[in-house]
Every structure is written in C-alpha cells, then in structure tokens.
Symmetry: C2
Subunit: 214 residues, 2 copies
C-alpha cells in the first residue's frame, strides 16, 4: 500500500504500543494483538522475528519514553526546585498517564521475577534518574551524600505514591502525602547531624527477619 520500506513495521510497532499500554503485556498473544491492530500474527513474526523480538522493541520504546520524561523534568530550569517537583508530580498523577504507569509497574514486577526480556529494564531504572536529580539537589545547596540520598528518596516517594494512586485512585490522598513530603523538604533542607544519627542507628540495627512483603 505505502511502499516505503519499514513504514508498515513502524505502524505495527506504534499500534502495538497502544495495545500494550491498554491491555498490559502479561497475557498478550500474537493473535489477539494482530486482530487488535488489524493484521495477522504472521506479519508480527515477519516484522519482528518472534514474540520476544516484539516485546524487546516494546520495552525499549517504553524506556525511551521514560528517558524523554526525565528530560522534560530537567527542562524549564527557571522555576524553583519545589515548584518543578510539584509540576512533575502533577503531570505524573494525571489519569491520562495511568495506563502507561500500570504497564511500567507490570513490567517492573515481571523483571524482578527474572523474565528474560524485561530484565534489561532494571538496569537503569533507578540510576538513570539518580544522576540528574542528584545534580538538582546539589544545585540547591545540599552536600553530595545528602543530595544523592535525597534524590533516591524522591524517586522512591514518587513511585510509591504512584503505586498507591493506581491501586486506590485516591488522588486527594496521594496529593496530600506528596504535599507532606514537600513540606518536610522545605522545613528541613539541611540536616547532616540528624542524618548521620539515623544512619548509625540503621547500621547498628540487629536484623530480625520475619514473615513477608510490605
């Protein structure tokens, strides 16, 4: 129809992304997908070699979208740090992004269980965010170690609250918790002494393993 080399393939990949964002990646079969995107499963194998190949491309595309989201966080350097964080949270918490975030956590969970392709997802899943955010914190005047810990904490808070939001749908509750975190940061921008104290407590803690998950 088009004739342009690779164009059909790209069209299929885009349609697949849409389908996967909407339906998840867990119980995806080539035939269902093909029917949904208006082709035959034969074509998917033709263009992507195998189901694995397709999944890998999808995951890479998701990673690419993440990197772009990160880049957008670093843009607009005019605004103050808390303001930028608020904007970022407001974007992430918007329902229009929920399907993509569900997909992210689904693939994250599968990757943690060692699913072959998804495993690569874990490589930079924390580190790639840490660098830039750490710089952000340092530019706000924090010492290096504090900045890194604070950045890590920020990523954790964001993901944890997103998990909450996706499960409960309670936007108000999640916003309140994020506001609390912001407030704590505004109130306690520097706290090397207390931080050191807490770290020592943690290091000296006797470990008492017990039943299970959080």
């Amino acid at each position: 129809m088009t004739g342009d080399k690779g164009q059909a393939r790209q069209r299929l990949l885009d349609a697949t992304m849409k389908y996967v964002v909407a339906h998840g990646v867990g119980d995806m079969s080539l035939r269902q997908l093909a029917a949904a995107v208006g082709t035959s499963h034969r074509m998917l194998v033709y263009h992507f070699g195998s189901k694995q190949g397709l999944l890998i491309e999808v995951i890479q595309a998701v990673e690419e979208q993440q990197r772009q989201a990160l880049a957008s966080l670093l843009a607009d350097p005019g605004a103050a740090l808390p303001d930028r964080m608020l904007r970022f949270w407001a974007e992430l918490a918007d329902p229009s992004l929920w399907p993509a975030e569900r997909l992210f956590f689904e693939m994250y969970g599968q990757a943690l269980q060692g699913r072959p392709h998804t495993a690569a997802l874990l490589d930079g899943v924390v580190e790639s965010w840490l660098g830039p955010i750490t710089e952000l914190c340092e530019s706000a005047g924090m010492p290096a170690r504090t900045a890194r810990a604070r950045a890590r904490l920020g990523v954790a808070v964001t993901r944890g609250l997103l998990l909450d939001l996706l499960a409960t749908g309670d936007r108000q509750g999640a916003d309140d918790a994020m506001a609390e975190f912001m407030a704590m940061q505004l109130q306690a921008p520097e706290l090397q002494a207390a931080e050191l104290q807490a770290a020592e407590l943690l290091a000296a803690e006797p470990l008492v393993p017990e039943s299970t998950a959080p």
Copy 2:
C-alpha cells in the same frame, strides 16, 4: 499416605507457596508446579478445583502473611516510633525476604492490569496499612490530617525503596535514603503551615500531561 483429610491439600498449598515465592506467579503452569512439588497436575486440579482456585488461595495466603507482618509492626510498643520504623525497615530490607517481596510486586503489577483473581489484592493494599500507622503517628503527637498524610508517605517510601532495592540490590543506597527520610522526620515533626502551603500549591497546579511513566 497420611489418611488425614485435607492434610495432603495443605501440604500441596505450602509447597505451592514456596514454588511461587521462588519462581513467581506469571508463567506458572500446573504441570511445572506439579513436577516441582512432586505430584501430578491432576492432583492440583483435584484439590483446588482449577488453576484459578489455586491462585486465589495463594494470593489469600500472601495477604494473610501481609497482615501478620503488619501485626508484628504494631507489636513491641515499648520502643520509640523512629526506632520501631528502623527495625521494620531493617526486617524488610533483609535479603531473606526479597523473594516474597518480588512476588508481592509482581502480583501488584498484574493486579493493576486487571488480572481477574489478583484484583482483590488491591482492596486493602494501602488502606489496611494506613489505619494502624496513622494511629502511630497520632500517638506521636501529630494532628489527624498530618498523621494520615505522613502514614501514607511512609508506606510509599517503604515500597518505593523496596522497589529500588530489589532492582539494584544496593542495600547501602536504600538504607541511606531511608535514613534521610528518618532524619527529615526527626527534624520536622510539626509543620502545619508549610504543609498547607505545599498543598495549596499542588491544588492550584495547572496540569500538563506528557509522555509516560515515572
């Protein structure tokens, strides 16, 4: 062998839990499971009715373990709040619990995507923790609204850092971030003014949806 009614069933359920904790629940087939626990897939269907039935029981068992973990958090009321939180984190972060936590996040991700059985997992996944922890915070002197937000934040931090830890294996980094959070709490136990300010900022924020996940 035993003759006691229901005992064989319980044995299979226990063995299934072990298998599922170790291998995940995503690509579990009755035959693989049966081979791993030393029986035939026929018996699994016999005892649990269907694969669905088995999964439901497994998930209920996981939830039960969660409730027990929560109960253990509330025990030992002698220690101070930050100390108790540190103990709790030290327990959760111990590698012996990682497999169970991987399973938790895997099922969480599947539940977010609407997998039939797992969906029930989301019901109390946040709320059941919020109540007790909120009480904890209130008993530490926080006003009600702050306490609830702080509790929600605590759950988010814990789960977020656990996600980090499971992906990176960087115990030190996760501990540092948790210590930072503790320090922030010690430094800023009361902050109604700043909290309100942040909440208003968040409420007035113009929403600018963009690409994708966290």
